[in-house]
C-alpha cells in the first residue's frame, strides 16, 4: 500500500508540481528565474565547490538518462565486463567529484558570513535534499556493485512503467532500502524544482553557440519607411 503511494502516486505528483510550478513561476515572476550566483561575494571556495559539483552531477545525470532512454543498448554495453568496469569507474569518479563539490558548497554556504547573508531557508532544504541524494547514490554504487548493469533491470522498467502511465511498484518493492530511498528522494528533488534556485537548470543557454555576438532590439515595432524592424 505504502509502496503505491510512494512509488506510483508521489512521482506523478512531483512531476506535476515541477512542471506546473515551473511554468507558473515563469509566467508570474520571470524575474525570479536566476542562478542567484554568489561568486561576487566569495570566489575561491566556490571554485573548489561549484566546478566539481556541476561537472560531476551533469555526467552522472546524463548516465542515468542514457540508461533510461536506450536500455537495450546500455544492457548490451554493460554485459561486456571491460565496458562495465570503465562505465563504473567513470561514474564513480564523477559521483565522487559531485559529492566532494557539494560538501564544499555546503561548507562554504554556512560558514562564510557574506554568503550567509544571501542564504534562504529554501537553500538549506535544497542542499540537504541534494546531499542525501548524492550520498545515497554514492553509497549504493559502492555497496551494491555493478549498478550500471542492474539499473537497467530494476529502476528502468519502473521508470518506463511510470512514463507509460502504468506504474508497476513490484520492480521497486524488493530492492534494498538505500536504493529505494535514492529513488524516492530523487522525486523529492524534482518536486523542489519550482520552489528553489534549481530553476536555473532548464535555463542553460545552449543557443548562445548559434547566436550572433551582437543583439539589437527595437521597442517601436513600426519602421517609419519600410526598413527592417530589427
Amino acid at each position: 500500500m505504502s509502496d503505491t503511494v510512494l512509488y506510483a502516486v508521489f512521482p506523478y505528483l512531483a512531476i506535476l508540481v515541477a512542471v506546473g510550478g515551473g511554468v507558473y513561476r515563469y509566467r508570474a515572476n520571470r524575474f525570479s528565474y536566476s542562478t542567484l550566483s554568489s561568486q561576487l561575494l566569495e570566489n575561491r571556495r566556490l571554485f573548489w565547490g561549484s566546478v566539481p559539483w556541476h561537472y560531476g552531477i551533469v555526467v552522472v545525470l546524463l548516465a542515468h538518462l542514457v540508461g533510461f532512454l536506450i536500455p537495450g543498448l546500455w544492457a548490451n554495453l554493460t554485459s561486456n565486463p571491460g565496458t562495465l568496469y570503465t562505465v563504473e569507474l567513470i561514474g564513480f569518479t564523477f559521483g565522487l567529484a559531485a559529492l566532494v563539490g557539494l560538501c564544499v558548497l555546503i561548507f562554504r554556504r554556512f560558514t562564510t558570513e557574506r554568503i550567509l547573508s544571501v542564504t534562504s531557508p529554501m537553500d538549506g532544504v535544497l542542499l540537504l535534499a541534494l546531499l542525501v541524494q548524492v550520498a545515497l547514490g554514492f553509497y549504493v554504487s559502492l555497496a551494491y556493485r555493478w549498478g550500471a548493469d542492474w539499473y537497467v533491470d530494476t529502476a528502468v522498467p519502473w521508470l518506463i512503467s511510470l512514463v507509460s502511465l502504468n506504474p508497476q511498484t513490484h520492480f521497486v518493492s524488493s530492492l534494498p532500502l538505500p536504493v529505494r530511498l535514492h529513488m524516492l528522494n530523487g522525486f523529492v528533488v524534482i518536486a523542489l524544482f519550482p520552489f528553489s534556485r534549481l530553476v536555473h537548470l532548464i535555463m542553460f543557454p545552449f543557443w548562445y553557440l548559434w547566436r550572433p555576438y551582437q543583439l539589437q532590439i527595437r521597442n517601436t515595432v513600426r519602421p517609419a519607411a519600410g526598413g527592417a524592424g530589427h
Binding site: 509566467r27 520571470r30 524575474f31 542562478t35 561576487l40 571554485f47 566546478v51 542553460f204 547566436r211 519600410g226
Partner: protein, 513 residues
C-alpha cells in the same frame, strides 16, 4: 550603407572640477537599493590613479573587450573566451572581479549615538557592513578611495597606463614634490561593439535599436556573470541581492521625454554634452579590426555626415525619424568628434567602439617651476613655452595616448596643438598681448582657422543648455508602440522587452527563493 542613430556623449575634461555631483545624482535615482550599494554607474576617477574597480584598465587581469588575431585572416574575438569557453566556464567565471575589487559597502550604527548609556567617553557610530550586517573594524576601500590621489603617490604610480613608462616620465608626473592629476568621469560608453552584449550567453543584454542605448533585460538575465567580465570598462555590475546584472541605462526614461540623463543635467562644470550621431553599421566589424594606432581615425570614419543626402536616405529607410536626423545635424558630439576632431574615445584599443568621447585636459596653465623659478608664459615670447611645453607637459603625451588614442601620440599632439591654438587666439583677442605672427603660427600648428577656433571656444565656454543637450523626445506615434508593445507569446501579458528593465515592473523585483 546601413545608417542607424546612436546617442553619443562628449566629456570635456578641462572643465571637470571633480565634484562628484554626477555620481550622486545617479546614485540617488538608480543605485540606492539593496545589492546595488557598491555600484557606481557614474563615477569620477582621479587620473593618474588606479580607478574603480582597482586597475580596471589592466585587461591582462580582467580580460575585458576584444582582440584581433587569427592565422589566415584577422578575426575579432572576445579576450575573455570563445562561445564554448563561456558555456564551459559558466559554473565558475575565472575572470569575475570580486566585491573587494570594488569595496564592501557600509553604513554606520547611528542609533548608538542616541541609545548609548551615559559614560565618560563620547559614544561612537561603528561601521556596519551592508552585505553581512556585521560590524566592520577596518574599512579598507571605498567608492573613491583614491580621490585626489588620497594624499599618496601610490595610486598614481600603480596606474596601468604607466606600465612600461620611463623614469623620466615618472619624474615628470611626480614633479614639484606633488603629483599632477585630472579627473576622469566615467559612465557606460554605450558601445557600437559592446563586449557585455557579446559575452552574455543568455542574450539578456541588447542594444536598443532606436538610439543604441545598451540595456540588460532584468527578466531575461540568469546571473551567468559573463557581461561583467566582457565589459573592459567594468561598467556592468552584478546585483548580489537580486542575482541580476545591472548597468547604466543612460536614464532612458528621461531621454524618451527629451531630457538629458541626470548626471548630464546636474553637471556643475557643464562638461557634458549629449547628442545623436548617425553611424554606418556595415562598418562596425571593419572598424573594430583596425590597427591599434588607427582606431581613432576608423571610429571617426564610422560616424557619418548627417547632412549627406545618401546618409539621410539610408537612415530614413532604417526607420530613423526626421526628429532624430534633425537632432543629429545639431549634435554637439558631431562637432567635437568629427568637425573639430578634439574629442577622443577612452581606450579605443579595447575595440568595443565606445560612444563616449573625451576632450583631453590641457591643464590650467602650461607653466611650471624649474630650479625654483616660475617659468610662466611672460618669460619669453609667449607662444614658445606654450608650444614647447607640450612635450615637456606635466602629463606626458604618452600617458594621454595610452588613455585616449590607443598609443598614437600624433593624435594627442594634434588635439593639444588645436587646443593651444584656441587658447592663443582667444588670448590675442581678449587680452591683446600676443603678436599677430605668433597667433598665425599657432593656428598653422593647430591646423585650424579663426572661424573654427571661435566655434570651439563658443561650444566649450558659452554653450546654452539646448546646445549641450540635443536629445529629441520619442516621437508621439512610436511612443504609442512602446506603451502598448506586442505581447509576449508566452505570457500573453508582458511586453517582450519593454518594462523588463529598471522601471515598469509588474511584480516586485525581489530575489527568488
Amino acid at each position: 550603407m546601413d545608417i542607424r542613430a546612436q546617442v553619443s556623449m562628449v566629456f570635456h575634461l578641462d572643465k571637470c572640477i571633480g565634484c562628484h555631483t554626477c555620481s550622486i545624482a545617479c546614485k540617488n535615482i538608480w543605485t540606492d537599493r539593496k545589492g546595488t550599494e557598491y555600484m557606481y554607474w557614474n563615477n569620477v576617477e582621479t587620473k593618474p590613479g588606479t580607478g574603480y574597480p582597482t586597475r580596471w584598465e589592466d585587461q591582462n587581469h580582467y580580460k575585458g573587450g576584444w582582440v584581433v588575431d587569427g592565422k589566415r585572416e584577422k578575426r575579432l574575438r572576445l579576450r575573455l573566451q570563445g562561445k564554448w569557453g563561456t558555456l564551459g566556464n559558466i559554473f565558475y567565471n575565472p575572470n569575475l572581479p570580486q566585491l573587494d575589487d570594488y569595496f564592501e559597502p557600509w553604513t554606520y550604527d547611528y542609533q548608538n549615538l542616541f541609545t548609548a548609556p551615559l559614560t565618560e567617553k563620547q559614544p561612537t557610530a561603528r561601521a556596519i557592513s551592508m552585505v553581512t550586517g556585521k560590524y566592520m573594524d577596518t574599512i579598507e576601500a571605498g567608492p573613491n578611495w583614491d580621490d585626489d590621489l588620497g594624499g599618496s603617490q601610490v595610486y598614481a604610480n600603480n596606474d596601468p597606463n604607466f606600465d612600461g613608462a620611463s623614469e623620466e616620465e615618472m619624474r615628470q608626473i611626480n614633479e614639484i614634490n606633488s603629483t599632477v592629476f585630472f579627473y576622469l568621469p566615467r559612465i557606460c560608453n554605450h558601445c557600437l561593439n559592446p563586449g557585455c552584449v557579446a559575452a552574455c550567453p543568455q542574450g539578456a543584454l541588447y542594444k536598443r535599436g532606436e538610439d543604441g542605448v545598451v540595456l540588460v533585460s532584468q527578466e531575461r538575465c540568469r546571473a551567468w556573470r559573463m557581461c561583467v567580465s566582457g565589459c573592459p570598462y567594468k561598467k556592468t555590475y552584478f546585483n548580489w541581492s537580486t542575482g541580476k546584472a545591472e548597468k547604466c541605462i543612460l536614464c532612458y526614461p528621461r531621454l524618451e521625454s527629451g531630457q538629458p540623463p541626470a548626471c548630464f543635467h546636474s553637471c556643475v562644470g557643464r562638461i557634458r554634452y549629449i547628442g545623436l550621431v548617425l553611424y554606418d553599421a556595415d562598418l562596425i566589424e571593419e572598424t573594430a579590426k583596425a590597427p591599434q594606432d588607427q582606431l581613432v581615425m576608423a571610429q571617426r570614419n564610422i560616424i557619418k555626415d548627417p547632412f549627406d543626402p545618401a546618409v539621410i536616405a539610408s537612415a530614413r529607410a532604417n526607420g530613423v525619424p526626421d526628429s532624430k536626423i534633425d537632432a543629429a545635424q545639431k549634435s554637439p558630439v558631431y562637432q567635437f568628434v568629427k568637425k573639430f576632431g578634439i574629442a577622443l574615445p577612452l581606450h579605443p584599443e579595447f575595440r568595443t567602439l565606445p560612444m563616449l568621447f573625451y576632450v583631453p585636459p590641457l591643464g590650467p596653465v602650461l607653466a611650471k617651476v624649474e630650479n625654483g623659478v616660475y617659468d610662466n608664459v611672460a618669460s619669453e615670447a609667449r607662444l614658445g613655452p606654450l608650444m614647447s611645453s607640450l612635450d615637456r607637459s606635466r602629463i606626458p603625451l604618452r600617458y594621454m595616448a595610452s588613455l585616449l588614442s590607443g598609443g598614437n601620440e600624433e593624435i594627442i599632439r594634434d588635439v593639444y596643438r588645436k587646443m593651444v591654438a584656441v587658447r592663443v587666439y582667444m588670448r590675442s583677442k581678449k587680452v591683446k598681448d600676443i603678436p599677430a605672427e605668433e597667433v598665425e603660427r599657432a593656428l598653422q600648428l593647430g591646423k585650424t582657422t579663426p572661424a573654427e577656433v571661435e566655434a570651439i571656444w563658443r561650444l566649450t565656454s558659452m554653450p546654452t543648455f539646448e546646445e549641450r543637450f540635443v536629445v529629441p523626445p520619442m516621437e508621439r506615434e512610436t511612443a504609442v508602440d512602446s506603451l502598448f508593445p506586442v505581447l509576449d507569446p508566452v505570457s500573453r501579458n508582458y511586453p517582450i522587452r519593454k518594462g523588463a528593465v529598471g522601471v515598469g515592473f509588474h511584480t516586485d523585483p525581489a530575489r527568488g527563493p
